[in-house]
């Protein structure tokens, strides 16, 4: 670690020579940090992951003048410098320069929600204690003014001894001044003289202990005396991050006992004293126009969080978004599918008959198509999710759904990712980033693919149309409709059971905290939403795209070698080899090949079946497969039990390489996608077997 720090310090010097300086944006969640980051860096930023963890790292370039370029990092939003969540750990390590390959920022811009100065100053005063050059950016001044809040920023600047700027990030107001201030602060850094200003005479013993503990804990890390004190304070209030048996823990405990003897509760004294100090500052700088105005946003808020109205509005919003994603995504998805098919035909016509043509058309072009086809759903879903998050409604939704989700050991924040997974598990899994607890997030990721996605729908409808009689129960309940609904409900029930088991077994642990800020409701920015959905699309293409392409080439090769005839190919041989294993489910080798091929994407099952049945290639694979299945029904070679078993198999199976690819990216290792594939396949097998046996038992 020491060697790394020295190396990164050397990197920092090298960077200084080439005139690239480093600054970081810190701030509470919901303070509008991202808007400011986007405005400062324009389109010149990139999204990556911090090494080894799944916390996102955004960095971009800010040009101050011809002599100075700044590499600006957008740190994860945090409420406190101390703390044990992934986001908090990463942000504090980044601020202390302890992330491998990254030098310490030379300047921190602390973005503050102006309408919420009191709580936001908590982090700001911690950053002052750390002894690093700091600029306070009071953001969302328009919202604050609307609420009758005026802030005397000159007084604030004097009291905290740091530059204070006011901004409206969404309207790009104050961005230019911030850019100039960053430049002049970097050219001539100055430190606030108000470090540890919250410490009164009563807190003197606390600080003395913190210095000792901090120095002991710093060990080999390169930390300044100020940083050591902050670290010491953190350990005194909460040492869960440290191993229990270490001598350091003993030292911390005896320090706590000593402090308690002099009347100081080490776990809460810092926070209490800091807030007292902040209260004083706020009293001198913030003036609220107390003319008894009721704000529109408060009235709306009272309705959207109301027990009855809130739930009704929630259902309406969710149903609308869900419908829109299904309907709006369909046209571009069809267009993409058709374009890639025509492209394949066109390029195919230019190439000579043979393996090369087959590779290009059926392997590469079809593979690229199967990646690109996800773009409409990912883009649309993230557009709406970003609007919901930006407006503050996302936390209201989590608030309303918490009680329901808790039944299976999850929490309100898991609801929207799971709902999204009914459209497609990929954006669903990508949207779990709003869940701070890793165990809850992982559980949500692992059960997301059990929600019946839009790719299963063609499989369900084909099998239902082919095998389920179009009769009515009680004269009005469609048997086909009931069957389709049952498949969706079966997936949800399976997900609930798996979540419950996971939270009782491998993901057991301290229950996650729900405590969540409810930001003021406001009009969301469509520009930010477009930007967010573009980011997500790029991320998907970059991280999952290559893998999906590789998989589809492998699947092509299995079908194309050693001969083109399906039965003779490796795919056919694997299907035949699988037959004894899948026979108990009512499947033959043909269905086996279909299932294997549908690893590319579940709906591929239909076209694969068309190939296996050796059907005349027609424009519509699903019509010809439907007829073929109906013929087999009449011949008695394909029955209702097999159809039900196959549908149940598709409810639970993980035949989707894209889901596995995105699961790897979001969990940071292969362990979880492998686990996902194994448990889902096992579940699919068991459930299919049971469904097949039951169907035969009841004489279907």
């Amino acid at each position: 670690m020491a060697a790394n720090s020295i190396r990164s310090a050397a990197n920092g010097q090298a960077a200084e020579e080439s005139k690239t300086r480093r600054a970081a944006l810190a701030g509470n969640p919901n303070c509008g940090k991202t808007t400011i980051f986007n405005a400062l860096t324009g389109l010149r930023y990139k999204v990556a992951n911090y090494p080894g963890v799944t916390v996102e790292k955004k960095s971009g370039t800010l040009n101050i003048n011809s002599d100075m370029r700044v590499e600006l990092t957008d740190l994860p939003g945090i409420y406190s410098f101390a703390g044990n969540s992934y986001d908090e750990k990463i942000a504090s390590e980044a601020l202390l320069g302890q992330i491998e390959g990254e030098s310490k920022p030379e300047l921190v811009v602390c973005v503050i929600d102006a309408a919420n100065l009191e709580r936001n100053l908590y982090l700001a005063t911690q950053l002052i204690d750390l002894g690093m050059p700091l600029i306070l950016a009071l953001n969302m001044m328009d919202v604050a003014e609307e609420r009758g809040i005026s802030i005397k920023k000159e007084i604030l600047s004097r009291l905290l001894d740091v530059p204070v700027l006011s901004l409206v990030g969404s309207k790009k107001e104050g961005i230019e001044q911030l850019r100039l201030e960053i430049g002049s602060m970097l050219a001539k850094p100055s430190l606030s003289s108000r470090a540890l200003a919250w410490v009164g005479t009563e807190e003197a013993p606390l600080i003395a202990s913190a210095r000792e503990i901090g120095a002991a804990a710093a060990d080999s890390k390169v930390l300044s005396p100020e940083e050591q004190t902050v670290l010491g304070l953190e350990l005194l209030s909460d040492s869960r991050g440290t191993a229990d048996s270490s001598p350091l823990i003993k030292e911390i405990e005896s320090a706590r006992e000593g402090l308690l003897a002099s009347g100081i509760d080490a776990s809460s004294r810092e926070a209490t004293a800091r807030y007292k100090y902040i209260n004083d500052i706020v009293r001198k700088t913030v003036f609220v126009d107390s003319s008894n105005r009721k704000f529109v946003s408060d009235k709306i808020d009272a309705i959207v969080t109301h027990k009855i109205w809130g739930s009704a509005i929630f259902l309406l919003i969710m149903a609308t978004i869900f419908q829109v994603i299904f309907l709006w995504a369909k046209a571009p998805m069809d267009l993409i599918n058709n374009s890639f098919a025509s492209l394949g035909d066109y390029i195919g016509s230019l190439l000579p008959q043979g393996k090369l043509k087959s590779l290009v058309v059926d392997g590469i072009i079809a593979g690229v198509g199967s990646v690109v086809v996800f773009i409409p759903q990912i883009g649309l879903l993230f557009f709406f999710l970003s609007l919901l998050e930006d407006s503050g409604y996302l936390s209201r939704a989590a608030f309303l759904m918490d009680r329901v989700m808790r039944k299976v050991g999850l929490q309100g924040r898991s609801f929207i990712p799971l709902l999204s997974s009914f459209a497609c598990a990929i954006p669903g899994i990508m949207s779990t980033r709003t869940i701070p607890s890793f165990a809850d997030r992982l559980t949500t990721i692992l059960i997301a693919p059990l929600m019946s996605c839009s790719a299963r729908l063609p499989v369900y409808t084909l099998l239902i149309a082919a095998c389920i009689p179009s009769s009515y129960i009680f004269g009005f309940v469609s048997l086909q409709g009931i069957t389709l609904l049952s498949m969706y409900l079966l997936g949800v029930a399976g997900a609930a059971i798996v979540a419950w088991i996971l939270k009782l077994s491998i993901l057991r642990g301290e229950p996650a905290l729900f405590v969540m800020e409810m930001p003021v409701l406001r009009l969301p920015s469509p520009i930010l939403a477009v930007r967010e959905s573009l980011d997500r699309i790029l991320l998907f293409l970059k991280s999952a795209g290559t893998m999906i392409l590789a998989c589809s080439v492998i699947l092509w090769a299995l079908a194309a070698y050693p001969t083109d005839s399906v039965k003779e190919s490796y795919a056919g041989k694997i299907g035949a080899a699988m037959e004894p294993a899948i026979k108990p489910l009512g499947f033959n080798w043909e269905i086996g090949v279909g299932i294997l091929a549908s690893f590319a994407a579940r709906e591929v099952f239909i076209s694969a079946l068309a190939t296996v049945y050796n059907l005349e290639s027609s424009d519509d694979a699903s019509t010809s497969v439907l007829n073929a299945l109906k013929n087999r029904m009449n011949e008695g070679t394909f029955g209702i039990p097999t159809a039900i078993s196959l549908m149940v198999f598709y409810v639970f199976c993980c035949q989707c390489m894209s889901t596995l690819a995105i699961c790897r990216r979001e969990t940071g290792s292969w362990r979880w996608p492998i686990f996902m594939f194994v448990y889902m396949t096992g579940m699919a097998y068991g459930a299919s077997l049971a469904a097949y046996r039951l169907a035969i038992h009841f004489g279907l």
């Binding site: 919420n116 009191e118 709580r119 209490t272 807030y275």
Partner: protein
Amino acid sequence: MTLAAEIEIKNYSRSLGSLELGASGVVGGVSVKNRRLQQKLLAMGIVAGTEIEVLSVAPFGDPITIKARGYQLSLRRSEANHVEILPQK
């Protein structure tokens, strides 16, 4: 939680979790029983002396939203039970 003196699990006469919609009060302290929750609430401004008001209650009575330090915070009743509310004068 090895420090004996820290295990002062108070049986609060009145906790934030027991407050009804619209009720208000002043925080007396946050229990150290759940260290992670305590640290989180302290950082978010729920310290001794903070004035709070219950703004809304979710369907089935849980979680709740409170107003504190000019912003809104939502938490489960089980979490709110760790916050002591001082008796009114």
